[in-house]
Symmetry: C2
Subunit: 380 residues, 2 copies
């Protein structure tokens, strides 16, 4: 009877009605029936992304679509600005380097958001930069970037804004067109409550000009092939059929419930988790101003090993949260995700289990104060 | 009550016990539990591939792993020999061209196998060719390449032999090490009876020397990252967790039943389908000598449109076979696959449905002669 609750920032839990979709017999992908699935998925993604841009589907996890955004926009020797405020920001720089692109790195202290004015300065000093890469929800730290503020600055330059919203889409607002996010990258295993294996990318006309000029070799992730295919409601290569079929169902939720109610829902879960942590006498890692609603990053009390907390929660009690990443945070924080298929009771379970383990490890606090604080928020 | 039978050369049917695996709750990938899955899958793949080489897993469909085999082995300006006997052979050439690799193309007439002596001549004339690309089971034509004969020739040269066995592995024998197949590419949705979304690649030490020397930019499909990760029983990026979990179960069949009985099983299905076609007065497209056991390619009688046959079988009766591809074969053949989760009764169903539709379209033959001929083979 051990719990099996995933409060990790990807993969996220799959609700039973989507498990059932994933367990259905397969259909062939070059059929009118599967074309209908592609159509609904693309329409639904455009709705969630709040965009009229083209949306492409790839059979890959999120990093594949990040690489696609580099190798379709930039050629060796090109300059790009990479905003690095955590592990996933660093990934943009790594991919750029792998392709011989010259990254101009804006280092943002972990737990803080990029300062738009600093970005403006860097853009002014690097007028030849072709792309600005940012991370919408930086899950390594628990920060949500102010994409709107960044977009306001980038839109008036020649640079194309590329947003990794793998952990943000469907959880935190992202007005792709209104905020001038030229390329948005996301994937199936976070806000969409499905297994990893499908990634999606929206591409604006401004970005598409770079695609056409780009000289980098590419094939599987080639946006030109993807565009040609999607115009015929097809994919250039065999798609991840099973997940796309289930995505049809997953996406319905966004149209049925509406985007704002869903974003408010996750905001409330995050508010509850934060209140609980504070009631336990714990502090939160990110700055209050940029704290993400997709996950809550809690500082583990001094003298307690965060890796141990995470492992006991997972292995003894079946409640999975994430530990800290990198030298900065390993052993120092736990990260509790709210994205995807998570509700108030799951947050309470996570906090309850955290209380139990902290007590076992000798941390002094009033047992039950965390769950009580979260409960109060949820009943507001 | 319409049938939903997939006799297509990928995706193939998913048996109910694997549908059930795919419908299970997800687990996190950075856990001891998932490491156990990776370990079992890699061990199982080495068993089916008959290799001691490293095996890497990617979240992609087969073409991603084909691209990986190009971009990890070859740099722009390098020379490679591409054997083209159908659509999938042509894909090797296309990928090479996308990467600025100079392909030396050996055109093989559709329906025939490459002549090893011709390959030897081309290798002698191109001693600087770094790779030879072949297709194990060319599903566009229904031919199985004699990989053993090719391997005997390539092994004594500096070139590395890369085999696309996406449609062959687990269906038709492939002795990777014994036959000197340096790189073997395959995927989850054919012999392994799962949805598309996971690809695998085995890499020999001879091939690995090219990987280290290769200057082509790469990230998601980088064999060096994959090697480092697999040594720690991990994947460099988020894997397609759901399919890998199910792959654990799918692979057990090969160890339980043994490889030769499985290859003989598919050989019998193919023999039955061929006998049925002949009994109906139809001819087979590929040469008898290289006819694949993974699928049977049947010439549609003159005056009958093969696309129509395929569509009526699928849309009216729910029995999916594939039509012909390219100018060479579109409308001229139907392709009935035997790979994956197919049994004698499925072949009978396919033949029975083909008989029904051919009769409707006015073709003259003795109704029932096809299924009777197949039945005789199955009861031999």
């Amino acid at each position: 009877m051990k719990k099996n609750l995933l409060l990790t920032p990807g993969p996220t839990q799959i609700p039973p009605y989507l498990c059932a979709e994933l367990g259905k017999p397969i259909i062939h992908h070059r059929t009118p029936q599967f074309q209908q699935a592609i159509k609904e998925v693309i329409d639904g993604l455009k709705f969630v992304m709040q965009t009229k841009n083209d949306v492409f589907l790839f059979a890959s996890s999120g990093t594949g679509a990040m690489e696609a955004s580099v190798c379709n926009l930039l050629s060796a020797g090109d300059k790009a600005i990479c905003v690095e405020g955590g592990k996933f920001g660093e990934r943009w720089t790594e991919i750029c380097k792998a392709y011989g692109v010259m990254p101009v790195v804006i280092k943002v202290a972990w737990g803080k958001d990029v300062n738009p004015q600093e970005l403006k300065k860097v853009l002014d000093a690097n007028k030849d930069a072709k792309v600005v890469f940012i991370t919408h929800c930086e899950t390594s730290t628990g920060v949500t970037t102010n994409v709107k503020a960044v977009g306001e600055i980038v839109k008036d330059t020649n640079a194309v804004l590329v947003v990794d919203s793998i952990s943000g889409l469907g959880v935190v607002d992202l007005k792709t067109d209104e905020w001038h996010a030229d390329v948005v990258v996301s994937a199936s295993h976070k806000g969409f409550m499905l297994p990893p294996g499908v990634s999606f990318v929206s591409v604006s006309p401004k970005a598409y000009k770079l695609v056409e000029a780009c000289k980098t070799p590419r094939y599987y992730f080639d946006f030109r092939k993807a565009k040609k295919a999607i115009e015929k409601i097809d994919t250039p290569f065999t798609p991840a059929i099973g997940i796309i079929i289930a995505l049809q169902e997953s996406i319905k939720r966004f149209k049925t419930e509406g985007l704002d109610p869903i974003f408010n829902y996750y905001a409330k879960l995050a508010k509850g988790a934060r209140a609980a942590a504070k009631a336990l006498g714990l502090t939160l890692f990110p700055d209050e101003s940029c704290m993400s609603n997709a996950l809550t990053t809690i500082n583990v009390p001094a003298g307690i090993d965060g890796e141990k907390v995470m492992k006991i929660m997972r292995d003894t009690y079946g409640v999975s949260v994430a530990g800290g990443q990198g030298d900065e945070l390993k052993g120092k924080v736990i990260r509790m995700a709210h994205m995807g298929c998570v509700d108030e009771y799951d947050v309470l379970t996570g906090i309850s289990c955290l209380e139990k383990v902290l007590k076992e490890l000798g941390y002094q606090f009033t047992l039950g104060s965390g769950v009580a604080a979260a409960q109060k928020v949820f009943n507001e």
